[in-house]
Amino acid sequence: MGSLADDNLISEFVTESREHLGSIEPDLLAMEQEGKKTSQEVINRVFRAIHSIKGGAGFFAFEAVKSLSHIMESVLMQVRDRTLEVTPDLMDPLFAGLDRLRAMVDDIGASDGVSFQGEADRLKALLAGSGAAVGGQVKAHAQGQPQARQFALDADAVRSILKRGMTLYHAKAYLHRDVDAHWDSPLAFLNNALSVGQCLDAFLDLSAIGNLNDCLEQDLCVTVLIASVLELDLLAHAFKLPESQIEPMDMKALKGSLAPIEPLAPAGPEPGTTPTGQTVLPAPGDERAEANAGEGAHGKVAREAGADTLRVRLELLTKLMNLAGELVLGRNQLLRTMGPHAQDFPGLADILQNINQVTTELQEAVMQTRMQPIGTLFGRFPRIVRDMSKQLGKLIEVEVRGAEVELDKSIVELLSDPLTHIIRNCADHAIETPEERKRAGKNPTGRIVLNAYHEGGQVNIAVEDDGRGIDPGKVARKAIEKGVITAAQAEALSDRERVNLVFAPGFSMAEQVSDISGRGVGMDVVRTNVEKLGGTVNLDTQVGMGTTVQLRLPLTLAILPSMIVGLQGQRFAIPQVDVVELVWVRAEEVKTRVERVQGAEVLRLRDKLLPLVRLADVLEIGRGFTQGESGDLLPDRRETLVDRRSPAGAPSKPGVEERERADRRQSWRSDYHVVVLQLGSNLFGIIVDELHDFEEIVVKPVSRYLEGLSCFSGTTILGDGRVILILDSAGLAAQAKLQFSDLRTEERIRQEEEQRRLALKASHRHSVILFESGHGERFAVAQDKVLRLERIRASSIERMGDREYIEYRGDSLPLIRLDRHMAVSPLGAEADEFYLVIPYAEAALGGSPGGILISNIIDALDVEVELKPVEIQGPGLLGSAVLQGRMTLFLDPNVVAQAATGGKQP
């Protein structure tokens, strides 16, 4: 077959077919939704896509693909010509056919062996229902052909052509002369042909080689039988073929030959007659629509031919990206080396600046080439959800937002599995059945929203559903059942932590392992896969309301912003995404901030306890410290961080030792630099010697000779040419055998302590009444010592000797003036209103001892103060404090009253 069997061409066909199949699916889904109201445009689109696949398959002689697509095409043709209606029963066989075609295209070499009988039968049944038979053949021959070649054509197709007033042409294209000369590839030629009309057949015409001329030229000829509304000259122009190579076929003869051969066809040679006997004339609108569609397609091809996209092998783009990364490093080195000398050479500064600029832009542009919109991934989910909802008897609607958000291609590919799992889980477990939903007062149709957006320099992908939410109690019980945790451990967990148990390995919510969401492959795999990409997964849920699964991912893989740390003179890189914060524990603070819990060292950081590991220990590099003044690196013989007093076997002379120890304690070099890393929802700190810059590094994989070293996730070359290793926080935690659960318990205990302490403190709060006496002097009395507050008129004060009384509840109440008993100012004489503070007295003492005269009541407050002793003397003076910015004397009113009245009642 010569150049037709070229692998490149075949893979081009496969790629194009995949694209066609990809475009068909959403259209089929739309057809299912809209049913009879489906627009002609959608139907035409699907038809054309299948038509193209069929054409290409015929070209390359992939018989199975050709046959199956041919049957689908017939069905779609009926739909397009309005002899078949779009009903739900129509869609399932079409979807089945689509899936089978996909499978064939995916392994095109083996496609001929694939059985498609089931799908074919279902589709044929549809056609039988409409009264047309597939496979009916019509014989035709081209006019003016020396060999009078006969073709076998599909009757339905011929009928369709005739109905639309098209002419069938027999066009010959020579591979070398015509196709290669004017087109990029035979496929391009074919695609073009398919866009200007309907192709009934295409094949290599071996019989045409009988011609001596052809033999000499050794040029193979492809024959295309194409029906088009275009005139001969236009067609020749579109095909870029000489007019002599195109022959119109005898349409009248075709018409005539339709009737006798069709077994199920209605009697009568009328074109377009349906089995029911009605004559269906092609509606003018249809004809025009088809013609327009043909031209529209032609126009589309014309546009595409000039379109600004190009297919490039992924391998090449990856190479470009690597080279760009290296260039960035080289540029960094260049700037570092030449930067300081830039002024020594005229013009050098400008050159360096230019290279800098161009390199940055180049790198960004190259990164862009690999960016793919996430819509390519999201696009699969409506179909998956549709199939699942049918299978499960649920009603689910899918909404996709942010499909244009772009990610590096490899991330998109690697996200496919985790996202699919999440969506399946959603449809399977989260969304309730319509009845359940109705009972809960929800819309019977469940909703899944896929949302992609940029935030905080990362890409966020959220899958939100309005289903039943995740019940922490149920999850905890399941986890205990599966032996993931013990009942005791479950007790200690917060609701949020319980929900996060779904990420534990070995966990699966499926009651029975349903085929649908897989064999409990589980959220732990999802999380691991996402974390491998440098991302995070979070769950947010509300029982009865719904769940949101949120993924956060870095924008690109290859260049990683990292923190460079120093340890024992060596350097290591830590990916910035893992670093939560940096903590500098000063030498003096170490004793107080670092503790031991269950034998392991922890750092108290605000309200959390962080396990601490010394990187030097984990990596088994000798521990050392920098000698205070000399800056030498010496081995550290202390056993624990806080043990600063006895370096066992310290070198040097006794006197020097003392001094050294003291120096060391104070020197800033004995501070500890802790990098706080995050691992899922846990945090831990690693102690390093030095913190260096943040650098953007190009990640290279760990050499295979270092396989199995979980502490390192890659290697890189720094700007100065040194090779350093990239640390992996999960690996470090595992190597250090960190246990987080114990700490949780400890934290909880401490929290409870704190709460108790606060409660206790609260009881030391006083509720006081704040009042004013003479000259604005302020006093406060405890509220629970006050019986009543009364307002009296100066005129109602009665006098007896030097005592004052007032009638109060049928009794005489002695009045007390503070200034008579302590060194405070008297009340103003002009006031005609006063207030009384009547202390609460024990019943045993019989009634109130008296009322304290005051000028004004200011406020009632809760205060927590420490009373300071006062200088003035007086009964009942408890102390003073500053309240509301004023010096306030605290009184015990009872004591004052007792003192004033001498405890005697009148």
Partner: protein
């Protein structure tokens, strides 16, 4: 008759077919890899490529050896396609993992007939014996031929 690149560990002479050697360089700064097996000395930067340096002496079980003052690195050609470092390690899964041997001195290129190689003599340690494909008597002395695959990947 094929050409062998020869080098010394102490006073022992070893050889590798010249086509399996990419280049020979003076030893440069080697980044040690914590927790690595003993025979992995570390990594170096060879014009932007990371090469894993293996200590041939450790591999061969040669005891009591100090690093020579001037060591060399024999960088091997090709290298196996590396195992995927995982997607987080960048999209360079297909990058070859380059390797090299740390040796003391470099000898001349020697032509020898591998057909004339004899099995290793009895006084060679067992570990070493397994990693040699034979010895050849040359004008310059006994040349031990390394079994490259065994040294790199065997245990």
């Amino acid at each position: 008759m094929i050409q062998y690149s020869t080098f010394y560990l102490g006073d022992r002479c070893f050889g590798l077919p010249i086509l399996s050697v990419r280049e020979i360089i003076r030893s440069c700064e080697i980044t040690p890899v914590p927790l690595a097996p003993r025979h992995v000395r570390g990594l170096i930067n060879l014009r932007g490529q990371i090469v894993t340096i293996l200590d041939l002496a450790v591999r061969l079980g040669i005891q009591d050896r100090q690093d020579a003052l001037e060591s060399h690195v024999v960088v091997l050609a090709g290298g196996e396609p590396s195992a995927q470092g995982g997607p987080g390690a960048g999209d360079k899964g297909a990058q070859d993992a380059m390797a090299g041997f740390l040796v003391d001195g470099i000898g001349d290129v020697v032509e020898a007939d591998e057909g004339r190689a004899k099995p290793a003599p009895a006084n060679v340690s067992e570990a070493e014996g397994k990693l040699l494909s034979g010895v050849i008597q040359t004008d310059f002395g006994l040349l031990a031929l390394l079994d490259l695959q065994g040294v790199l990947h065997g245990h």
